[in-house]
């Protein structure tokens, strides 16, 4: 069986009492010594080496901690679309994190220049400036002063002067 995480294919073949796991040209014999489902903990023997992994699942994402290092993996499968799924247009600015809109410096129709601070968000007592990556015109302003926004929420759309 093939499982894909972060565009890497992992091939698992059950054998007598263990598994053959192959990634690219690297193959390992994996034995599951213990599995604690409640705590998402796996004690493995990989080619005779003890490895303890903590795993949790959050939709298509897997959080894996091995030897103190944590990785976030995204699973791709036939039933799920691969990748993050959302694609932003160049002039579409989104909130990098949840927070509150503290300052709105522009209105729809305003001309803006690259690097100009359009909005300021406050989150966890820090200020985050939302700056335009290009020259253009504010086509849409999707938030107001004081509004609470979620991560990845669209804030403002900038278009080329010609497009407006």
């Amino acid at each position: 069986m093939k499982i894909i995480f972060n565009n890497t294919t992992i091939d698992i073949v059950p054998t007598d009492a263990s598994y053959r796991v192959a990634i690219g040209d690297k193959t390992v014999n994996a034995e599951i010594l213990r599995a604690d489902t409640e705590h998402g903990k796996l004690d493995l023997l990989l080619d005779g080496e003890r490895v303890t992994a903590y795993i949790s699942s959050d939709n298509a994402r897997r959080w894996v901690t091995v030897d103190g290092q944590t990785f976030v993996l995204t699973k791709s499968s036939a039933s799920r679309k691969s990748g993050s799924g959302h694609h932003h247009a160049a002039g579409e600015l989104t909130a990098p994190m949840p927070g509150q809109v503290r300052v709105v410096n522009v209105s729809e129709g305003d001309s803006v220049t690259k690097g100009q601070t359009l909005l300021v968000l406050e989150a966890m007592k820090m200020e985050i400036r939302i700056q335009t990556p290009m020259d253009g015109v504010v086509k849409k302003l999707l938030v107001v002063h004081g509004q609470t926004v979620e991560r990845e929420q669209k804030l403002i759309e900038i278009v080329d002067k010609l497009e407006s």
Partner: protein, 495 residues
């Protein structure tokens, strides 16, 4: 002694204070906002009072609501913790006026030191060295003139400030107007006061602070230094004591200056005098005094062998602090790492979400002060500090090794943390050599997360998924479950 203390704070520090109260036989009252209804600090306390909505201004910064909670629960003292209203002189005065005891210094001491501009003037008068700069400026031209006189780079910071909020380094005169506006707004939101001061910025300086402690009978001592130079966004992430830079003679000089600074404002209870230390000249300058318990107080507790929070409560109740300066010593070396829900790979932006896994390390010489457990949500309303991991060992190299081992055993999933980042700092030769200045992370440390997940992590994740699929298909076929399946209960693994 007090019978009941209200803790005007949340998270790990509220729990830390509750523990101290319990050991002293004092009942505790926690307060909570809408977002903290099920928070750990609420469950630790004997009683809990709801004080308002999730935004801090409507709850943990709402002095009236806190006072009402203290009076209705018949508490006889209020411990402010750190942050929030801990350095708000009006709050301390209001607590006193309500015939309750504020566990901290007098409102006058807080007022004198809380204003960064006024405190600098007082320190100059007391003969404590201060950084070149200007206070009490209003208009942009005044700031521009002062900055030109001092010479760039300059530091603009909130008069009422602390904790890196409302603080901006300005390298170029062109950036000054925008940075002043930003610092003003941050200061206003964080402290309700937008006054700023400006001073010379020393790029290679270390941050070395001294813990001071006094009772209400005139005894005032220092409890040695803490080196807090590993910082990002002007906020400390790793602190230790003793500082690898101080000689016994420098320690004596700086300790005396710290006591002199505290005496100048009639200080009692726990406080911290922060210095900027220039390793090239061994010169030190007063930076500010924090008139409260410090986040990093545990490293002092472990090396000095004192419970600072219990002593805060005891001297607030009028007890004498029994140790003279000569009786106080330090033993071994202690380091604290602040485990933050933040992503070092994207500018240390806070990371929010539900803690899918949360396992703290244990072992001799390992202490964890935390306010979270698995299943809790880390929200954007409050500081993203998840836990403080503190170790104590015989000497600095042993303490570093202990911290590295403890961080390896700390498992946090569901939010991104700075654990890998701190591991990389601890392993760096500059850290081992005590060469980390406050700007080191920004200027000298090019950390990048691993570009691809490790082979072991991919194998483990794939095996976990594979065995679930097998288990589910074997149930559908009404066959015996897969004998190798670790997932006896597939629902335990949240798919």
């Amino acid at each position: 002694m007090f019978k009941k203390i209200l803790i005007a704070n949340r998270g790990e520090i509220a729990i830390r204070i509750i523990r101290a109260c319990r050991e002293l036989g004092i009942r505790t009252v926690a307060v909570y906002s809408d977002a903290d209804k099920n928070a750990l600090h609420v469950q630790h306390a004997d009683e809990a009072v709801h004080i308002g909505a999730a935004p801090p201004r409507e709850s943990y910064l709402n002095a009236d609501a806190l006072l009402r909670a203290a009076l209705s629960s018949q508490a006889d003292a209020v411990h402010p913790g750190y942050g929030f209203l801990s350095e708000n002189a009006s709050f301390a005065a209001a607590v006193d006026s309500a015939n309750l005891t504020f566990i901290g210094p007098s409102a006058d001491s807080i007022r004198a030191m809380g204003d960064k501009a006024e405190s600098k003037i007082r320190m100059k008068e007391a003969g404590v060295p201060t950084v070149p700069g200007a206070e009490g400026l209003q208009s942009l031209p005044e700031f521009e003139n002062a900055a030109r006189e001092i010479g760039y780079p300059v530091l603009v910071k909130a008069s009422a400030g602390g904790g890196g909020k409302g603080m901006r380094i300005v390298w170029d005169a062109n950036d000054l107007p925008e940075e002043i506006d930003a610092a003003r707004r941050e200061a206003l939101h964080a402290f309700g006061d937008d006054r700023l001061l400006i001073e010379k910025y020393l790029p290679h300086a270390h941050h070395i602070e001294f813990q001071v402690f006094g009772d209400k009978h005139g005894r005032l001592v220092h409890l040695f230094e803490r080196e807090c130079s590993v910082q990002r966004r002007h906020q400390k992430i790793i602190e230790e004591t003793p500082s690898p830079l101080l000689t016994p003679e420098l320690r004596r000089q700086m300790g005396e200056a710290a006591v002199k600074a505290a005496q100048a404002v009639g200080y009692y209870n726990a406080g911290t005098v922060e210095f900027i230390f220039d390793p090239a000249s061994s010169a030190f300058y007063f930076l500010e005094m924090n008139t409260r318990l410090q986040v990093e107080h545990p490293v002092t507790e472990l090396t000095a062998g004192l419970d600072l929070v219990q002593w805060q409560i005891r001297v607030a109740a009028g007890e004498r602090f029994p140790y003279s300066q000569e009786q106080l010593t330090q033993r071994g070396h202690a380091i604290e790492c602040r485990v933050y829900a933040e992503d070092p790979a994207s500018g240390f932006l806070p990371s929010t979400g539900v803690l899918l896994q949360y396992i703290e390390p244990h072992g001799p010489g390992i202490r964890v002060d935390s306010g979270f457990r698995a299943g809790d949500e880390v929200t954007h309303f409050y500081d993203p500090l998840l836990a403080k991991l503190i170790v104590h060992a015989e000497d600095r190299p042993a303490a570093i090794r202990k911290m590295q081992a403890a961080l390896r055993d700390f498992v946090v999933q569901g939010v991104v943390t700075n654990i890998d980042f701190m591991q990389a700092v601890l392993a760096h030769p500059d850290f081992a050599g005590g060469k980390v200045s406050t700007r080191w992370v920004e200027n000298n440390f090019n950390w990048e997360p691993p570009s691809s997940p490790s082979f072991e992590s991919l194998v483990a994740a794939a095996l976990a998924d594979f065995t679930i699929v097998n288990r589910q298909s074997s149930i559908e076929n009404r066959n015996e479950p897969d004998p190798f399946s670790p997932w006896k209960n597939p629902s335990g693994f949240r798919n």
